[in-house]
Every structure is written in structure tokens, then in C-alpha cells.
């Protein structure tokens, strides 16, 4: 019996090697890239960074990056590729820059809540990789609920930006509220502090009475959800913002 086992082993190894080989060749086949007609020197963000979406969901706005040459002029026809952690999809995943030097892609984030750094990269004339990193945020159920509560009750004062549908009240307040993205301040406050302020109002922590008490309007679960949302969107990121899903670069370049 022992005499045959090396043969069987050999057979198994060869089958394994073949399957690996076929799967590898399959991969390169699907990643047929368009041929770059020009090369840039730098890659910059036009729009689409620091967006918030639900887990697995599309970013509200597409990601647009631009390729510039040494003088900072847009380059048309340069190849841009996008990469991110498993589960993130780009539509399209690569493309040549248009006449204004830009490539636009729609991005769906992965299925788990947390931060997703996206990489957009191109190669310059000397085939050196030039990279741009963008951070996007995926919200889980609780954080999505928190966002809804933020939209309904908090944002009018806490978000200084006005939109056509929502005029911000931020500038009208004598004591300015903290925008929820203000990680520098909010990350230093514990969950218990935030809960106290939301539940009992500003005076609970010797802050302004302009911040009313929400403890009779929002449930405990609502307030927890709101805090989870505030933690998720903090910039710089809060420690409890959830994991960062980085791109595991397993290709050869």
C-alpha cells in the first residue's frame, strides 16, 4: 500500500496545481485592462471621499479622481484602477481618464460596518505606481437608525451646512454646537458623557442650555443608536468607529 501512496500524492498535487493554474489564468483574463494612451504624474480626488453609506450599499455620490501631469494639468487617456477590501465593488473598476482628466466610478461598500479605505492608482511614465487613498464609511443597522434620528432631531443645529431642503440653524446659536464629524472633541467624550448630555441636556455637563434634554423624546435605544452614528462618522476616526477594512494586496505588482 505504501508503495502507491507517492503516486497518489503526486496525482493530487498535480490536480491541485492544475486547478490553481486554471483559477489564476481565469483571474488575469477577467482583469483585461484598457490600454493607457497617456501617463500622468499625480492622482487627486475631485469628489466622492468621506461619504457615508449603508453596509453593502452604494455611496450616494460617485467617486471622481483626476490625473494630472507634472505641471498640474489634467491628462486624458491615463489608466486609473480602483481597489479596496473584499466586498467593495467598483462600477467600473478601472478606466481611462476622459477629456477633463477624470474617471468616475460608482462604489458599493462591503457588507460589514466600518471604514473602507479605497485606493485609486495609476502608473507614471517610469511605471511607478501613484496612489490616492479615500476613506468611506459603511453604517450598520444601529448607525443607520442613529443617522435617521440625527436627520430628524439633531442636524438642523449640529450641521453647519445648509441645503435647499434644510436651512441650518447653526449660525443663529450663540453657543455653537459640535458638528458630529468633529472627532477631535467628540472622541474625547465618553459614551456615558454623550448619553448624559443627550438625555438631560447641556446643563447636565455644565454646557449650554441651548442643547435641550431629549430623554423624554428619544428612547435609550435611540440614544445609543445616535451615539453609534456619531462614533462612526467622527473625523479623525473614533476608537469605537468599528474596524478598518483594508485592501489585502495579493496580486504580484
Amino acid at each position: 500500500m505504501t508503495r502507491y501512496s507517492p503516486a497518489i500524492l503526486l496525482l493530487m498535487i498535480s490536480v491541485l496545481a492544475m486547478s490553481v493554474a486554471t483559477s489564476c489564468s481565469h483571474k488575469t483574463e477577467s482583469a483585461a485592462l484598457p490600454k493607457a494612451t497617456a501617463f500622468g504624474a499625480a492622482i487627486v480626488e475631485s469628489s466622492g471621499g468621506k461619504q457615508v453609506a449603508q453596509t453593502g450599499g452604494l455611496l450616494p455620490q460617485p467617486v471622481v479622481v483626476q490625473i494630472n501631469d507634472e505641471q498640474g494639468t489634467a491628462v486624458a487617456g491615463a489608466l486609473v484602477e480602483f481597489a479596496a477590501a473584499e466586498g467593495v465593488t467598483f462600477d467600473p473598476a478601472n478606466g481611462l481618464t476622459d477629456s477633463s482628466g477624470q474617471v468616475t466610478t460608482n462604489v458599493s461598500l462591503g457588507g460589514m460596518a466600518g471604514r473602507y479605505p479605497l485606493t485609486a492608482f495609476t502608473f507614471d511614465k517610469s511605471h511607478k505606481k501613484v496612489e490616492l487613498k479615500l476613506d468611506e464609511i459603511a453604517l450598520g443597522y444601529q448607525q443607520t437608525l442613529g443617522r435617521q434620528i440625527n436627520d430628524q432631531y439633531c442636524e438642523r443645529c449640529h450641521n453647519p451646512e445648509s441645503t435647499a431642503q434644510r436651512v441650518s440653524n447653526y449660525d443663529n446659536l450663540d453657543v455653537k454646537p459640535h458638528p458630529f464629524t468633529e472627532g477631535d472633541t467628540l472622541n474625547k467624550m465618553s459614551d456615558a458623557d454623550l448619553t448624559a448630555i443627550i438625555t438631560h441636556g447641556g446643563p447636565a455637563l455644565n454646557k449650554s442650555a441651548l442643547m435641550p434634554a431629549w430623554g423624554n423624546t428619544l428612547s435609550k435605544a435611540d440614544i445609543q443608536a445616535l451615539i453609534s452614528y456619531i462614533r462612526a462618522i467622527a473625523d479623525p476616526p473614533s476608537r469605537s468607529a468599528g474596524p478598518v477594512f483594508v485592501y489585502a494586496n495579493n496580486s504580484k505588482n
Binding site: 462600477d91 460608482n106 457588507g111 460589514m112 432631531y153 423624546t217
Partner: protein
């Protein structure tokens, strides 16, 4: 070879003792297969991995104590759930593992349900009983149910929750789109509770279309509605030029004239070029209608159709008749009957007719229609099911025109046809079908819509929630929504409210729009005299709002009729309007109220009482609140605003009776005259 085998046989089975030994060894080896398979199983591998990962964490002891080896399972007979997912997903309940980015070890994100009560597959689909990664997650020949991609996970909430939930924006949007974008005119969706989903849009009747517009416009519209307006609900049927010609011929030939539409008005349009825009602005047409501005941005609401190119569409006589009384042409319209006088109608019509696009119909040239073309057009209108959405004289609304979607979310993959290169899964099928319906074969009738990728995801989510499980759930688990009521106000005032289309913007008794305040308790809330004045000259209570109540040019009789009805009928049983006086509060109480307003409760953050000092922009301006609201309403509002208006942003401050009374006294003293306030 043969000799070798013979000698092998001889050495192994030469004598009975040796033979017994050999057979025993083979027997033992075969007995070991099952334990070996078990030992090398995937779940055991993941459990080992988990313990290895946990070992180096600071909370290793707790995690190790919680760990239970072997196959784990959640068994819920009433849901027919046997889920062994937690055999590999070991850390689902460990809150401290929220920072672990790798599966299968991450903790489950916070949801309002317990894993032990709902299992995994109720929400995530997949094969619960399987214990290998491939069998549990993917669809194979033997198993039909792949894991639901995360982007559609909210569809699972919709299996039980029939109404909208604050935490499921995508599902909510999908359901809204399903009702608003015309899907339900052709597709039937019956919910597990027996209700049939109703469309919320109201496609116009085409029975008198020739009064309203020209054959050329119909042609251009049918060819591609998006050319006329990018906000069109009407999809593109991808018709050939000949078919479009014949359908437009039929619709015009089939149309019968309405008396009022062809009469011309004697009044001339105003010569004042500013009169049109200012009447358009004053009437707050932009609350419902959008117009594209020079920069290409849409300005205005989306309740009524976009008006950027309306001058290229409507006939001048029809527009005048419509502005005079829209309900004469379409009794079901959401457009209010404004009671414009003749010169106002002429001014507004002139202003709107100037909004035209000469390119729109430039290339359309149609010969007079032949009887054959008209007959062919009629056949096409029947074939494409136009009458599913539009009322067309002489053509019956077809029944079951398109597939029933009541359980589309469980359609077996084996019954689906996929496009080449497509992923073979139900969500992908649904999404692609919505995106490019005609790609799935020749002769398909479903038209091309112009949904954004996010809208397609939302619609797919809503459709996936319509599945077998939602029909087989124990009824106790179903969480009903609050469906729209069919409330209609009665009597003369009711007729008037229909005529003014109050329900296009306002909501009363769970019926109507959400653009303007809910009026269910309006009779308890406001003072009669204020309401009368408001009807005659509606001001705004919220400086930051663009959408406002228009002036309807009502007669005194009509104003009284409406006011009486509202004051009598829309009463909240918890608020006795006459229980608190509108004046006569002591100076002390008013002053205490003022201190509470500016101090303890800091109401000036959101409201304005004194325009000189206060800047709050969120709530209504309160400078005149003493002449607007009743004291009893203010008091109850202070005590519990959400009990009067669900979801209002005003926080419930759990005020003491004394505080509420003092604030009521302070607010009721705000009658608008600045001197009066200053004197106090």
C-alpha cells in the same frame, strides 16, 4: 501483475489468524472514516481558529468561558429554522469582538432582535442546516437559497414589518417607488394580510387628450419622455417611428372634446412682464411644480409635473380652462382650484406658455392619419397595455397584464432566465430586469425606466421582501404598518376641501400629503379669528421654508364654511380649547414664563419671540403666537408635544404643571404688537 496480486493475496490471507487480523485492520480503518471526517471538518477548523485568535486578547478568559465547542444550532420549529451558522460564526454574541474585521469571528452588529429568537436564515437566507461554507452560503443544485447580499438585507425586515421603519431607509424608499413609479398599475402585489398594494401616482386620462395637446407633442413624448422632462414617470416603450405615429393618431382620433376646454377667454395677458413671475411666485406654484433654471438645476417641488417646457406641450385654450378650474378636466387631480379671475388666468397662462422649447417638436412632421394607422394604433395601445395606467375611452383596463409579484422574492433560480455573463442569483435577476427589462428577450413589453442605481437597489430590496416566508410567518410576528386611510371630509366643507386639494399637501386622519402640517387637531390648536385671516392672506410661520400655503381667493362664505368645519371637527379629545383663557394671566406668571423661555428651556435656540434678539430658525416664529394658538393647546404642547403631533422635532421636556402654565402665560402674551410686549 497477476502473479504479484496472487502473492499479495497469499501473504495477507495465508492463514485464518492473519486473515482475521487484516480484515480487522480494514474494518477499523473504515470505522475511522467518520470520526476523521468529523475531525477535519470545516467548522472544527474555524473553532480552532477562533480559540487561537481569542488567546491573545485581553478578554481571553471571558471569551474562552463563553465558547462552546461542537456543532451549535438554533432550532425554531414555528419558523422552520434549523440554523447551525454559529458553529463557525462563534463570536456572534461577543460584543467585544466588534473590532474584528475577519469573518467568521466578528460579533453581530446591534439589531433589535435576539439571535436565539430569530436564528440567522430568517434574515440572511442561506442553508441553515449546512455545516460547510459552500453549502451554507451558496446555491448549489441541491440547495436553492444563497446568502442574501448585504446591500439587500433590509428586505428581510420587510417580511414582518409591513410599515416603514426608521432604521430601513432603503426598504422604505423601495416601497415608495414601487407605488409611485407606476409598477403597480401592471403588476399585482398582494400582501400576506390580504391587502393589495395600491399605486400612489395618478396617470392622466387620455380620453380628452386632443383638447390638451397636439399629436406632435404626443409623438415626441412617446418616443422618449425624458426629452420633454427628466422627471417623467412615464417610461420609454422604445417604439418605432411608425408605431409612435399610429398610436398618436389613435389617441387623437379617439379623444372627445370637453365643453370648457375650447372656450377662449376674452381677457388679454397682462402687458406687465413681471406680472407672470410674481403671480407664479405668489401662488406658490413652485411648492409642487419644478422649473429648470439657467444653471440646469431643478427649482421647485415634485408633486406636480415639471413645467420647464410646458409651453411646447399644452394648447393655450386648454391651459386657460385648466387654470380656471383643473377639476373640470380631471376630477381626480391633485391641483387646487385657485379661483383665479380672468385676468389672472390670462397672466399666468401667458407666463407658462412662454416656457417652451422650439427644438422639442422641430423634427416631428406628421401626415394626416389614415384609418389603417388609427386601427393599428388602437391595436398597439391594447398590446402595450396603455390602459393599465391611463383611462382611454373604449379600451378596458387589462386584468393581470403583467406577472403577479406577490412572492417574487422567493422565485426559484431554476425558473429564471439569465443574460450571458450575469450572476445567477435572484437579486441580480430582479435588479437587471428593472435596469434593462427588454434585454431578456424579443417582444417583451415592460418599458425602459430611468432609475438611478440607488433606486434600483431600493426597488430590488422592496421586491425581495415579498417572499414565501412573509406569507408563512406565524401571524403573531407580523408588525402591521399604519396604512393610508381613505378619510374624506363630509358635507359642503368637505367638497370645498376636495376642490382646494387640501390633501395634496396636508394630512388629516392618516390621509394626505406630508408637505404641510398635519391638520388632524387643527380645531383644538388655533384661534378662529387667526384661521379666518390665514385663509384670506396666508403668511408664513417658518421663515426658512420655501414651500408655503398659497392664497386661494376664497369668498367670505367659503372661508367661514371651512373655518367652522375645522374648528368643530378637527378637535383633539385631550385638549379642551375653553379650559384655559387667552388673557388675564398675572404679570408674575408671564415674567416667570419669560425666564423659563430664555433660561431653563432656552427656547430661543429654535424659536423667535423678539425679532431683535432671537434668531432660532427651526420652529415656527412665535411673535404672534398669542393671537394664533389656544392656551390649552400651548399648555398640552409644553407637557407632551409628541402626543399632539407624532414625530415632531420639539423635545418633550417633561415640564412641571407650573412651568408649563408659566410658559403658556408668556407665550399667550405674544400678540404681535411690539409695544404691548414691551409694556409688560
Amino acid at each position: 501483475m497477476k502473479e504479484k496480486l496472487t502473492s499479495l493475496w497469499k501473504t495477507l490471507f495465508a492463514d485464518s489468524v492473519r486473515a482475521f487480523g487484516v480484515v480487522s485492520v480494514i474494518f477499523l480503518a473504515s470505522l475511522a472514516i467518520a470520526p476523521a471526517k468529523n475531525f477535519f471538518s470545516e467548522w472544527r477548523h474555524y473553532q480552532h481558529g477562533y480559540l487561537k485568535m481569542v488567546r491573545n486578547r485581553s478578554d481571553a478568559n471571558t471569551l474562552q468561558r463563553h465558547f462552546q465547542g461542537g456543532i451549535q444550532q438554533v432550532w425554531l420549529p414555528e419558523l422552520s429554522v434549523v440554523d447551525r451558522c454559529n458553529s463557525c460564526h462563534v463570536g456572534l454574541k461577543e460584543a467585544s469582538l466588534a473590532d474584528v474585521p475577519t469573518q467568521p469571528y466578528r460579533t453581530h452588529p446591534v439589531i433589535p432582535h435576539k439571535l436565539d429568537q430569530f436564528g440567522c436564515t430568517v434574515c440572511h437566507r442561506g442553508q441553515g442546516a449546512a455545516t460547510t461554507v459552500a453549502e451554507a452560503h451558496s446555491s448549489t443544485l441541491a440547495w436553492e437559497q444563497p446568502i442574501l447580499p448585504a446591500k439587500y438585507i433590509e428586505s428581510s425586515c420587510g417580511q414582518c414589518h409591513r410599515g416603514s421603519l426608521p432604521g430601513t431607509p432603503q426598504l422604505n424608499q423601495g416601497r415608495t417607488l414601487l407605488a409611485r413609479e407606476g409598477c403597480l398599475h401592471c403588476h399585482t402585489v398582494k400582501l400576506p394580510d390580504g391587502r393589495t398594494l395600491k399605486a400612489t401616482d395618478d396617470p392622466p386620462s387620455l380620453s380628452h387628450i386632443a383638447d390638451k395637446t397636439t399629436r406632435e407633442w404626443i409623438f415626441a413624448w412617446l418616443k422618449d419622455p425624458q426629452v420633454y422632462t427628466s422627471t417623467a414617470t412615464m417610461p420609454n416603450f422604445k417604439l418605432s417611428d411608425d408605431d409612435t405615429r399610429d398610436i398618436s393618431a389613435f389617441l387623437i382620433a379617439n379623444s372627445t372634446p370637453l365643453a370648457g376646454d375650447t372656450a377662449t377667454l376674452s381677457a388679454k395677458a397682462s402687458s406687465d412682464p413681471a406680472a407672470g413671475p410674481s403671480l407664479y411666485g405668489e401662488s406658490f406654484c413652485a411648492s409642487c411644480h419644478a422649473v429648470q433654471n439657467a444653471a440646469g438645476n431643478m427649482v421647485g417641488g415634485d408633486v406636480g409635473p415639471e413645467l420647464t417646457k410646458v409651453g411646447s406641450k399644452v394648447k393655450p385654450e386648454w391651459l386657460q380652462a385648466w387654470l380656471r378650474n383643473p377639476r373640470a378636466y380631471d376630477p381626480e387631480t391633485g391641483m387646487p382650484h385657485y379661483r383665479f379671475n380672468d385676468s389672472q388666468v390670462a397672466t399666468l397662462a401667458g407666463f407658462l406658455l412662454a416656457k417652451s422649447d422650439s427644438d422639442l417638436l422641430a423634427k416631428v412632421s406628421l401626415q394626416p392619419a389614415t384609418p389603417e394607422q388609427i386601427a393599428h394604433g388602437k391595436r398597439l395601445v391594447t398590446d402595450y397595455g396603455c390602459a393599465s395606467c391611463h383611462e382611454i375611452a373604449g379600451i378596458k383596463k387589462p386584468e393581470n397584464f403583467a406577472p403577479n409579484l406577490s412572492q417574487i422574492g422567493s422565485k426559484p433560480v431554476t425558473q429564471l432566465v439569465f443574460l450571458p455573463g450575469m450572476q445567477h442569483s435572484l437579486p441580480d435577476y430582479i435588479a437587471t430586469k428593472i435596469k434593462q427589462p427588454r434585454a431578456f428577450g424579443q417582444g417583451l413589453k415592460m418599458p425602459q425606466y430611468t432609475f438611478t442605481p440607488a433606486q434600483i437597489d431600493s426597488l430590488t430590496t422592496a421586491l425581495l421582501s415579498l417572499n414565501d416566508r412573509s406569507h408563512t410567518l406565524p401571524p403573531a410576528l407580523a408588525v402591521p404598518g399604519t396604512p393610508e386611510s381613505d378619510y374624506q371630509p363630509a358635507g359642503k366643507a368637505g367638497k370645498l376641501m376636495t376642490d382646494l386639494a387640501c390633501f395634496s399637501c396636508h394630512r388629516i386622519n392618516r390621509h394626505g400629503g406630508d408637505m404641510a402640517p398635519d391638520l388632524t387637531w387643527e380645531g383644538s390648536s388655533v384661534q378662529r379669528e387667526w384661521l379666518v385671516q390665514f385663509f384670506k392672506n396666508p403668511g408664513t410661520l417658518r421663515p426658512s421654508l420655501i414651500r408655503r400655503m398659497p392664497r386661494f381667493n376664497l369668498t367670505d362664505g367659503e372661508v367661514n364654511e371651512l373655518t367652522d368645519y375645522i374648528m368643530t371637527v378637527y378637535q383633539n379629545p385631550a385638549v379642551d380649547r375653553d379650559s384655559m383663557p387667552l388673557s388675564g394671566y398675572s404679570q408674575g406668571e408671564v415674567e416667570l414664563g419669560r425666564q423659563l423661555f430664555y433660561g431653563k428651556y432656552s427656547c430661543q435656540g429654535c424659536h423667535i419671540v423678539d425679532t431683535k434678539t432671537d434668531k432660532g430658525y427651526i420652529g415656527p416664529t412665535l411673535t404672534h403666537v398669542g393671537s394664533r394658538l389656544t392656551a390649552a393647546w400651548i399648555y398640552q404642547w409644553m407637557k407632551n408635544p409628541q402626543s399632539l403631533r407624532t414625530g415632531t422635532a420639539e423635545p418633550n421636556r417633561a415640564m412641571s404643571d407650573e412651568d408649563a402654565r408659566a410658559l403658556t402665560a408668556f407665550l399667550i402674551s405674544q400678540k404681535g404688537g411690539s409695544k404691548e410686549v414691551a409694556n409688560k
